[in-house]
């Protein structure tokens, strides 16, 4: 059965949920789809099990879920969109979403599509990073927020970006032990951001409170340091760290070893651009927004008709700005469908843009500390695995670049880097950074071509129940 909507929203984080609420308030028939079983995205992820006491971490998420529940939008959670195609051009332009829901395969048609698929974690590989016990920073927040599961009994929290202090705080709060915090950003870099962070005194204050907590617990904090190696044979036994910029030095000079049985490691966030790429939208490389992002106008329109971007997936601005981009995308979709008068649109959009500018200041500061830092892979040894799906090492990537691969798809063809089940989500940034360290511009390196399925899907789900005679076999070409 095919359902038809005016607007489909992909992703039910703060941007997508707001977009769906606004679109349905305007009177557009709206569907919101998320592969998670509840709205909230990563930032407001719903707890796996409810405890009786109110949990402050879930207050904002609960409010978002209540607002979405009260809306007229059709909610499709736990469902997976695996392919999207443009159906026609001109007046009839729209999108066909191939989905796997509770009842198997189905198709949803929509005139407009708002993409709010968030961001994925950026990894820079280090020797030992594939050992059990190494957990992404964002992944650790999921473990801790939704299930209060500790990554280990003595955890190093390392990498770059605002998730470092959040993860440390969540571990302490859950009764765990933080062995050390290793932050690529220097104290000076953080201090320089305070004026922008002051746009959200509440968040700035919260961050300072977490730092006091860390100081009270006498947790060592290494600013301007990076993990150069994860130690251990069958699991994490510790990390070796060094001052950033000295990563290409050989020998153990200036290196410190910290014992731990788990490492939460991550280097910021990368906008999840698969859907935009799949639909052929233009992209720009903007390190201040997380790297490759769809090219948007001031109304959240992409270069593809009736395709809109919102939230961190369209450029990192953080959770505070996300609802405004979602709201603006919904208003623009309504306006473009002729369902909102020009004057209403323009007054609402103007108001939103002012709010967005203010809300973005804090998010911009966070995106800055979480920016791509390609030089952090410069010194990694050749034997280090870069693509863990296909076991491709840094040496193989470097050799392919040496042999003439100038963009990331040629690298993929030559080495299989990015061909595995993760679709390049884990290795793409690392591989591109290695290419960049070899003197190729990011604009030339480009992005992996996006292909369906958007996530691996079972072949049996696509084929369903069928008879041989159901397969339409056209007459063969001449022998």
């Amino acid at each position: 059965m095919t359902q038809q909507f005016d607007v489909a929203v992909l992703g039910a984080g703060p941007a997508g949920a707001e977009a769906a609420c606004v679109a349905s308030e305007i009177g557009l028939s709206t569907v919101i789809i998320d592969e998670a079983t509840a709205a909230g995205g990563q930032v407001y992820r719903a707890p796996a099990a409810r405890s009786s006491r109110p949990d402050p971490h879930h207050a904002e998420g609960d409010a978002l879920r209540r607002r979405l529940d009260a809306s007229q939008a059709t909610r499709r959670f736990g469902d997976r969109v695996w392919d999207i195609a443009r159906t026609a051009s001109g007046e009839l332009a729209g999108y066909e979403l191939s989905m796997i829901g509770a009842n198997g395969l189905e198709t949803v048609r929509t005139r407009s599509l708002i993409v709010a698929t968030g961001a994925t974690e950026r990894f820079y590989p280090r020797p030992g990073w594939t050992l059990p016990g190494v957990v992404g920073l964002a992944a650790a927040t999921i473990l801790l927020k939704s299930s209060r599961v500790l990554p280990g009994s003595n955890v190093v929290v390392a990498g770059a970006g605002p998730l470092l202090s959040l993860v440390a705080h969540l571990i302490i709060e859950a009764g765990g032990r933080v062995a050390a915090i290793v932050d690529v950003s220097s104290l000076k870099e953080w201090t320089a951001l305070v004026p922008r962070m002051a746009a959200r005194p509440d968040l700035l204050f919260r961050g300072l409170a977490w730092q006091l907590e860390v100081a009270r617990k006498k947790i060592p904090v290494y600013h301007g340091f990076d993990v150069t190696r994860v130690l251990g044979e069958t699991g994490v036994e510790g990390v070796e760290i060094a001052r950033t910029g000295s990563a290409d030095e050989t020998g153990s000079h200036g290196r410190t070893v910290i014992s731990a049985d788990a490492v939460c490691l991550g280097y910021g966030l990368t906008p999840a651009t698969e859907v935009y790429r799949l639909l052929g939208a233009s992209h720009v490389f903007d390190p201040a927004r997380g790297g490759w992002i769809p090219e948007l106008d001031t109304a959240q329109r992409t270069s593809v008709p009736n395709l809109y971007g919102a939230g961190d997936g369209a450029g990192l601005l953080g959770a505070a700005a996300a609802p405004m981009t979602g709201s603006l995308a919904a208003l623009s979709a309504a306006n473009d469908l002729g369902k909102l008068s020009a004057s209403t649109y323009s007054s609402k959009a103007t108001q939103l843009r002012a709010q967005l500018a203010k809300a973005s200041r804090f998010g911009e500061a966070m995106a800055h500390v979480a920016r791509p830092r390609p030089f952090l892979v410069k010194g990694i040894p050749d034997a280090t695995i870069v693509c863990r799906c296909e076991d491709i090492t840094a040496g193989e990537v470097r050799a392919a670049v040496e042999a003439g691969a100038k963009n990331i798809n040629a690298l993929k063809f030559a080495t299989r880097c990015g061909m595995g089940p993760c679709g390049g989500r884990m290795c793409g940034e690392a591989a591109a950074s290695l290419m960049e360290c070899n003197g190729i511009e990011r604009t030339c390196i480009g992005q992996f071509t996006a292909r369906p399925p958007l996530r691996p899907i079972s072949l049996g789900t696509v084929t369903g129940d069928f008879q041989y005679s159901d397969i339409p076999l056209p007459e063969p070409a001449p022998a």
Binding site: A85, E96, G280, G460, E475, P476
Partner: protein, 372 residues
């Protein structure tokens, strides 16, 4: 006028690269321009099947020679002579299979007809609903994604000047030669070859000689790594399935099911409906695929001519501009077609006849008469 090159080749797929290498080996100064990087179009995204069972009868001599070239390339392109089985699931398909394979056997392909039972002895994971089958020990596959890296090495070794990520914006006749414009650069050559695959349709039209090319948008899918399910290339009597499990365990599924899109608009799109049929046929042949996860599905553009035979010769009306495209089964045959084309441009007698595109021009008898 002094030309920089003896020949400029437009297009860095198998045909363009193989021709360029032949020309350079024949003593010519050769330039090759490729808009992307080498081997990233149809040459690099096809399913890599090297099957004599799905080659056109009239192209069999070419296919046998192309196959031998890939065998020589060996590990560099992931060549594997695994053998191949083609399946018929109904009486009607069995008739088609018998007829098509008999013609190929007569054309020199080492194919034998076998029973369904025998097919299952060769490949125990196949369905038990096989009515009849054919087998060819010479069939196999290579890893098409290695095409670009392989030819880059060969081109450099042959001394061809290769310009990747370089679009040819204009092709113009100049006194005694051809001028190519790439951005703000001009390259002059005594002659040029269009080895531009599905893009030849639009390019030939721009040059005033619209060739009747039909573009097909073929779909290929790959699964995650699976336990060993098949050692050989599996096909279907209609040609609508190719299936093989690579040494790394992933299963590649093709068969020419159609996606959407045009070469001019960029890459094609997979169509969920035809993909479903393609995967159903694969699962019917190899039932355990039901549990495989599909990791990626993609499309590649294939150029076809109205008679399904190649276009290989002079672009009608041009003395020094050549065209090579529309080779069905081009992955297998391409390396050999490039050699033939190279020989033709070098002024040698090709070992096997080429396929003059002039046959598609209206009243071409009259058009060719002045040259007789």
């Amino acid at each position: 006028m002094n030309q920089q090159y003896d020949c400029a080749v437009v297009g860095g797929g198998i045909m363009g690269a193989a021709t360029a290498i032949r020309l350079a080996e024949g003593g010519m100064r050769v330039l090759l321009c490729e808009a992307q990087q080498l081997g990233m179009g149809a040459s690099g995204v096809n399913a890599g099947t090297l099957s004599l069972q799905i080659k056109r009868v009239s192209l069999m001599p070419y296919a046998l020679r192309g196959h031998a070239i890939w065998a020589q390339a060996g590990d560099e392109v992931g060549f594997k002579e695994s053998g191949g089985i083609t399946l018929a699931f109904t009486e009607h398909e069995a008739e088609i299979l018998e007829e098509r394979m008999t013609a190929r056997i007569n054309a020199g392909a080492p194919i034998e007809m076998i029973t369904g039972e025998r097919a299952r002895e060769l490949e125990p994971h196949l369905t038990d609903r096989i009515v009849s089958a054919s087998y060819c020990h010479a069939d196999g596959y290579a890893n098409s994604s290695l095409t670009g890296a392989y030819y880059r090495r060969k081109l450099i070794a042959a001394g061809v000047e290769v310009l990747e990520l370089t679009s040819v914006d204009e092709i113009e006749p100049t006194d005694g030669g051809i001028t190519l414009r790439t951005g703000d650069r001009l390259h002059t050559a005594r002659r040029a070859l269009l080895a531009t695959g599905a893009w030849t349709k639009e390019i030939s039209a721009r040059l005033g000689v619209p060739l009747p090319i039909r573009v097909r948008i073929n779909t290929v899918s790959v699964t995650e790594r699976m336990p060993k399910l098949a050692k050989k290339v599996i096909g279907h009597a209609t040609g609508l399935l190719t299936l093989k499990q690579s040494t790394n365990g992933t299963v590649l599924i093709g068969g020419g099911w159609q996606g959407t899109g045009t070469p001019e608009a960029g890459r094609g799109q997979v169509a969920a409906e035809t993909l479903t049929s393609n995967l159903r046929l694969a699962q019917y042949a190899l039932p355990e695929l039901v549990d495989a996860r599909i990791v990626r599905c993609w499309t590649g553009f294939e150029a076809n001519s109205p008679d399904f035979l190649p276009m290989a010769g002079r672009l009608p009306g041009w003395d020094n501009l050549f065209v090579l495209c529309c080779v069905r089964g081009g992955y297998t045959i391409g390396p050999y077609m490039g050699r033939l084309m190279g020989d033709y441009i070098l002024g040698r007698e090709p070992e096997l006849p080429l396929f003059d595109p002039i046959r598609f021009l209206e009243n071409h008898e009259q058009a060719t008469s002045p040259s007789h």
